[in-house]
Subunit: 143 residues, 2 copies
DNA sequence: TTTGACCTGTGAGTAGCTCACAGGTTTTAG
DNA sequence: CTAAAACCTGTGAGCTACTCACAGGTCAAA
């Protein structure tokens, strides 16, 4: 299979196939006649696997590690379970954060119903936002 | 005020101050003696405003636009309300998506309790993930 | 005067792609 | 047979919102 065929088979952009190949997730052979990449059914499985893993929140390095372990006939599954649990916890944190944010946003929106727009006067840029009190928890930035 | 003073005043990294300055959100003057950036109380207000807006999910270009409108004595608030509503809708979509994901993850985890790890045999890389059925909605990537 | 903390601009790194470019190959239509 | 379209190649840049590293200039305190 050529790049586009593989891409279509997995429902991704051909550039993603090339990118994953560069990143070492896929290891096609070469057609010596024209130097084209040659993918097989195994690559298609790997690519589909990678996409599923991405949906689950695995990073590319993690996925590469899983694939490499599989290549070496190690069972990657215990590691998958580990990372998966961590991801689940992360997802739950993200949900909680977003729900907090939504709560504050809807509250702000209803509060703003009563506020005039107000032309900026050099002191208040836009009260709608200035009045937003920033007791919101840290969003995860360093520093 | 110098860079670090402003940064401390707004609770951000000095590099963020420099970055925002490069991006045109802050417009300090120069001390001709030493070529240092000179910020004033207005800049502090702008920076604080920008940080609040970031918490609300505004992008830097959006924030710059708001600040520029304010500089031109336009009231940016109707625009703020607009973008804000859109952001709220987005946040709600994100929440729904993550909740979907969490549901699928917990379901998968409990299903995996009963599955053996299984050493990869060239056909199944890791059933834990391969068995994940990908009827999950599009995560927002372009195609 | 030396030390240390600050300042300057620029450039690279982060994640996961996506796209642009310039040139080679293969397929298809005429 | 040929011309054009559609594919292939590798590399490098762009996206977001910073953060950090680097090399060198400035300034306050000891």
């Amino acid at each position: 299979m050529k790049v586009k065929e593989l891409a279509v088979g997995a429902g991704v952009n051909p550039d993603t196939v090339r990118f994953y190949t560069r990143e070492g997730l896929l290891k096609p052979t070469r057609n010596p006649d024209n130097n084209y990449q040659q993918y097989d059914a195994e690559d298609l499985r790997r690519l589909r696997f990678a996409r599923k893993a991405r949906q689950l929140g695995f990073s590319l390095p993690e996925i590469r590690q899983i694939l490499e372990q599989a290549d070496d006939h190690y069972s990657p599954c215990p590691m998958v379970r580990d990372v998966f649990q961590q991801r689940l916890a992360e997802v739950e944190r993200e949900i909680a954060e977003l729900q907090q944010l939504r709560k504050r946003m809807t509250a702000a929106l209803s509060a703003w119903q009563e506020m005039p727009d107000g032309t900026p006067d050099g002191h208040t840029i836009c009260r709608l936002i200035e009045r937003w009190d920033d007791t919101v928890p840290d969003t995860g930035n360093k520093g």
